[in-house]
Subunit: 117 residues, 2 copies
Amino acid sequence: MTDTLSRTFAALADPTRRSMLDRLTLGVASVSELAAPFSMTLPSASRHLKVLEEVGLISKGRHAQTRPCRIEPALLQDVDEWLKPFRRFYAQRLDMLSDYLDTLNQGEGHGFNSDRP
Amino acid sequence: MTDTLSRTFAALADPTRRSMLDRLTLGVASVSELAAPFSMTLPSASRHLKVLEEVGLISKGRHAQTRPCRIEPALLQDVDEWLKPFRRFYAQRLDMLSDYLDTLNQGEGHGFNSDRP
DNA sequence: GTCATAATTACGTCCTTTGCTAAGTACGCA
DNA sequence: TGCGTACTTAGCAAAGGACGTAATTATGAC
């Protein structure tokens, strides 16, 4: 389990860490701010943020005593890219992509049948 | 770590299991077929498939002695849905979504531009 | 310098995961 | 009914993850 995608998925396999990432879509936040919604101790929350930082899903700056955290989107994009080959299995249920994938299936003939599950 | 999304990400946090899912995009395959590319023993590979089945990423049928496996796309779609709020952080680099998101950013509510290429 | 705040590190414990080997189950066929 | 193939279960050891408490570093205010 040493590759980047595996470590990314492992980091996302925790509801606390996903919730922290959700919070960060609203903007930069300190460790304490990110820890506040949870019932765990600050060291535990800090370790979750360290996991996110070490894998590369967030980065931390410095401002006085606080460590402002922000999202680093590259790995989430990697996850998105990994999902691509699977989209045709549920494309008809995806609002955002349905028209695009319908077009792809009808026209381009990129090597797969649109009537396969 | 009992919620579905956490168990899904945990199941995907293993290169063997992701590789098995990749293989299943080509169509149904038996346990032995899915295990063949890996250097591990058959019981270990079978256990990986059991993890995928228990979380709901694949399902197994029965055909003589074989257990044909197929992808169950619902959870991958859940992952896709979870990614949605993060797409705006890397949208300009996503081929598939760039047109849609450009439209969105220009002020449209949520309609899909149907006269797009 | 002294003190308070923000965050991290150290350490111990519990639980889960992953791999192996060996044994067991389910099915089709002669 | 007995045999081979396909797969699963059982049991064990090694490794990793998540939590808490206690101690430590880093910065700013006084």
